[in-house]
Each structure stands twice: as structure tokens, then as C-alpha cells.
């Protein structure tokens, strides 16, 4: 004789969540542009950047196999993307002798172009990218998250920095951006 499930038993069975592919496709559709901007901040060379972007997508797809829903897909996506970016920076440090600086140093760094108006948006954007690409990975995470419009709580969740530390860094970012871009962006 066949065993039938009661309605109450069926109600306790958890509904099947989205699959790894569905989670990935959803994230790629919603945050594809953000991922491209992020890759641009981690790699200036167009071909290597394209590879990096694909690596980010692969890491994202693979990571969703272990997605437990304890944070939002947006936080998860940014964590994975930044972690791939940080690994890329570490790898590139061995082949390129570029010195990376922290936000504190950037504040005091004399820059020939700071305060100078940028001719157009492209020039202002190039200057912004160059500034970001010179930052150490953790500071780069924070400034990118800030530019993407994430709030301090989300930045803390992604980076693991305390709220006070995030606030301090955002304060510095605002000062640096204001110093570097207040004329350029207005004029553009």
C-alpha cells in the first residue's frame, strides 16, 4: 500500500531554492556593469582586464554552490569580486614594481593634477581610475564600494572593517575626492 504525505508534512518540506546557475545569472544580470567597473579599477590593461572579469564571473559562479543565504547576494557578489581583485593585485605585485599607497598617504601626496580642472568626463574618469589603481587593496575595496553607492554598513559587511573604521576611511575618501575632483567634475 502506498504511503501518502499529509498536508502538514508537505508544508514542512523546504521549498527548493534557486540553483547555482540561477543565482549566478541573476547576479550577472543585476550587477554585470558593476563587475565591469570593478575589473577596470583592478586592471588597466584591456586584455588582462577582460581575463580578470572572466575570472571574477567564474569565481562568482563557483561560489554560489556554497551560498548559504546568510548575507544578501549583493554582499556576496561584492565579496567574491573584491577577493578575486585582491588576489589579482597580489599576483601582479610580483611582476610589476608598482608601489601602492593607502588613503592616508594619498591625502598627503602632492599631485600635479589635483585641483586642476579636467577637460571632460573622460579625462576626469581617467584621473579617478588612476587614483584608485594606486591604492592598496583594502582601501580600494572601500573607495569602490563608496563610489558604487553602498552605505557604511554594507561596506563593513563586505570588507570586514568595523563601522568606525569604515567611517574614518569614507571621511578620508571624501576629502581626497573633493581635493582631486571638485573642479574637474564641476567643469565636465
Amino acid at each position: 500500500m502506498a504511503d501518502y504525505l499529509t498536508v502538514s508534512t508537505i508544508q514542512t518540506i523546504p521549498a527548493a531554492g534557486p540553483t547555482q546557475d540561477e543565482l549566478y545569472q541573476d547576479a550577472a544580470r543585476n550587477y554585470g556593469a558593476a563587475l565591469e567597473r570593478l575589473a577596470r579599477a583592478y586592471e588597466a590593461h584591456p586584455e588582462i582586464r577582460r581575463d580578470l572579469l572572466q575570472d571574477i564571473h567564474v569565481a562568482l559562479w563557483r561560489s554560489f554552490a556554497g551560498f548559504d543565504g546568510r548575507c544578501s547576494t549583493r554582499t556576496w557578489m561584492y565579496r567574491v569580486a573584491h577577493n578575486v581583485g585582491a588576489s589579482h593585485v597580489l599576483l601582479q605585485r610580483r611582476t610589476r614594481s608598482q608601489t601602492l599607497v593607502g588613503l592616508e598617504e594619498l591625502e598627503n601626496l602632492p599631485d600635479a593634477t589635483s585641483g586642476q580642472p579636467a577637460a571632460d568626463r573622460t579625462q576626469a574618469l581617467d584621473r579617478l581610475l588612476s587614483l584608485i589603481q594606486h591604492l592598496k587593496p583594502l582601501d580600494r575595496h572601500v573607495i569602490l564600494s563608496y563610489l558604487e553607492g553602498l552605505d557604511a554598513a554594507e561596506i563593513g559587511e563586505i570588507t570586514g572593517l568595523s563601522p568606525g573604521n569604515v567611517a574614518t576611511k569614507i571621511h578620508r575618501i571624501k576629502a581626497v575626492l573633493a581635493h582631486q575632483f571638485q573642479h574637474g567634475v564641476h567643469n565636465s
Binding site: 545569472q25 567597473r37 575570472d55 585582491a86 597580489l90 574618469l125 592598496k136 553607492g149 570586514g160 574614518t168
Partner: protein
């Protein structure tokens, strides 16, 4: 004024033109497979180069009739086997992409730096030290089994060359460890900074 300027910088960043690259799940799966294969072949290359060196030593082992040289070649083969075992162990302990979403950037970055520091700091014990007994044995064999002073001269030249290479590797590694440690300390300082501070006030 500053706040307006910052909003405009955010707007400038978010409105930059993007290519709108779309990658299907199939392409991702294929590329993930390619990544696995790349790691697999890199390991194969490392094992193969050790195997080639081991074959050379095995050939010398089989063709020499001097016991001391045989001992030296056997020690080299054992040393290479130990190096391959360590390569395999460290390769499989690398952080997997699955953990990337569960770890915050701070945790992930520090774990990566600590892993690299351990590998670099321990190069002496897992990569260089296993080959030392072979070099010591071949020095002894050259001095004892070959006529004086040819054996002594050959052993001295070989040992001096090996010592210089080992010292250079050690010096470079110590520098790399110091650099990695500095970065780890910076991250620890960032993590341990107090929850509130005098710079927390808004800028507007």
C-alpha cells in the same frame, strides 16, 4: 560644496560606459574546467621536472660503481621525492573560490598573505634542505673517491656555487617575508581599530 562634488564623482563613476559583457553559464562552466586543467598541468610540469632530475640521478646511480656516489645519488632522489610531496601538499591546500563569498575581504586578504608568507618562509625546509644531504654526500664522495687535488677542487667549486645560490634564495625570501608581514600587520591594525573615533563625524 564638497558633498555635491562627491555625489558628482559617484555619478561619474556609475555612469561610465561599460561593454555590457554577457557570459553564459555554459561558457563559465567551460572556463572553470579550463582553470582546473591549467592548475592540473602546472602541477604535472612541476612533478615532471623533478622526475627528469630523478631519472638523471637514477642513471648515475646505476652506472657508477663507487658506493659513496651511489649513496649521494640515492639521497638526491629521496630529497626530490620529498620536494614533490610537499609541492603536492601545499598545492592542494590553496584557498578555494567557494570560500570567497563567506570570508570578508579583510579575512580573505589576510589568509592569502599568511599562506604566501608560510610558503616563502618555509622554502628552506621544504625545498632546499631536502637536497642538502645529497650535496654533502657528493662532496664527501668526490674528496674520498677521486685523486687529490682534483676531487677536492671539484667539490669546493660545486659547494661554493650551491652555497651562493642557497644564500641568495634565503635573502630574497627573508625580504619577501618582511614585506608580507608588514602588509599583514597593516590589515591587523585596520581590523583592531576601535569602533569609534574622532574622525567619525560627517564631512558635511
Amino acid at each position: 560644496m564638497n558633498e555635491t562634488s562627491n555625489k558628482q564623482t559617484q555619478e561619474l563613476w556609475q555612469s561610465q560606459p561599460v561593454e555590457g559583457i554577457k557570459i553564459s553559464a555554459d561558457v563559465i562552466r567551460r572556463r572553470a574546467g579550463k582553470f582546473e586543467r591549467r592548475i592540473y598541468w602546472r602541477n604535472i610540469r612541476e612533478y615532471a621536472s623533478s622526475l627528469v632530475a630523478a631519472i638523471f640521478f637514477a642513471y648515475f646511480f646505476a652506472t657508477t660503481h663507487i658506493v659513496l656516489f651511489r649513496i649521494a645519488y640515492a639521497l638526491f632522489i629521496a630529497g626530490l621525492a620529498w620536494v614533490v610531496f610537499q609541492l603536492h601538499r601545499q598545492g592542494s591546500a590553496k584557498s578555494m573560490p567557494g570560500a570567497m563569498g563567506t570570508l570578508t575581504c579583510l579575512q580573505f586578504f589576510r589568509a592569502e598573505l599568511e599562506r604566501q608568507r608560510e610558503v616563502v618562509a618555509n622554502v628552506w625546509s621544504w625545498y632546499l634542505a631536502p637536497l642538502v644531504p645529497g650535496f654533502v654526500a657528493i662532496t664527501a664522495a668526490s674528496v674520498i673517491a677521486r685523486p687529490y687535488p682534483a676531487g677536492l677542487v671539484a667539490a669546493t667549486v660545486l659547494d661554493a656555487f650551491v652555497a651562493v645560490v642557497f644564500l641568495l634564495v634565503l635573502k630574497m625570501n627573508r625580504r619577501a617575508v618582511r614585506c608580507l608581514q608588514r602588509m599583514i600587520d597593516e590589515l591587523s591594525a585596520a581590523e583592531n581599530q576601535p569602533q569609534s573615533g574622532e574622525r567619525m563625524q560627517p564631512t558635511t
